[in-house]
Amino acid sequence: MAVVRVQTEDFDIAREIDALRGRDARIGAVAAFVGLVRDVNDAVAVSTLTLEHYPGMTEKALAGIVDEAKTRWEIYDATVIHRVGELKPTDPIVLVAVSSAHRGEAFAACEFIMDYLKTRAPFWKKEQTPEGARWVEARASDDEAAARW
């Protein structure tokens, strides 16, 4: 069963990958992506980033994205953990990890899950900057990245 979690606290990448692997000797590859808070966005300094989501829909949307990845690639399982609440630069935001027999499937499915998450999962970012707070605008490049699949 895929692990899908939305949480305020940090995640332990090694522990999550261990849990994803288990003792399954069919697994020959685990690909993982970790998204982090940067200290600059659109040339403006960011002191904190506050993430909100839509409880009830978020987990369902993430599980649906993992299911879609499973229909497209021969992967065994996936872990998606997304943080919400107030974060600061260098904090981890999101972990996506995928297990499969071979690296090609794991890499592709991991990138797909991230691209779909960025355009379909109900999360929103608000930045604190020297000029005040601002909501992050969606990027056309994210839509283009998701449309590739």
Binding site: G35, Y54, M57, P122, W124, K125, W135, V136, E137
Partner: protein, 84 residues
């Protein structure tokens, strides 16, 4: 009754996180609901104006303008998502 939920920037600009309203007669889908909300004027008219990027979920699933709305539904309105 239907539950309306406003998220992120929309919650702030409309000034309300959620509301429970009687399903207005003649409101059968997302497009007609948006038109009804716009008729409130002010921020409702400007934030939900045609051409503004407003996303809608009905019962926690992404909806389109022709997605049906029925009594008991939870309808969320929000800007394009920016997670990850």
């Amino acid at each position: 009754m239907i539950t309306l939920v406003y998220l992120a920037r929309l919650r702030e600009s409309l000034g309300v996180p959620s509301e429970v309203v009687e399903l207005p007669s003649g409101i059968g889908n997302v497009a007609s609901l948006l038109a009804w909300l716009r008729a409130r004027g002010g921020a409702w008219a400007s934030e939900l104006a045609p051409g503004r990027a407003v996303r809608v979920a009905v019962n926690f699933a992404v909806a389109e303008s022709d997605t049906p709305i029925r009594a008991g539904d939870e309808i969320a309105l929000f800007p394009p998502v920016t997670g990850g």
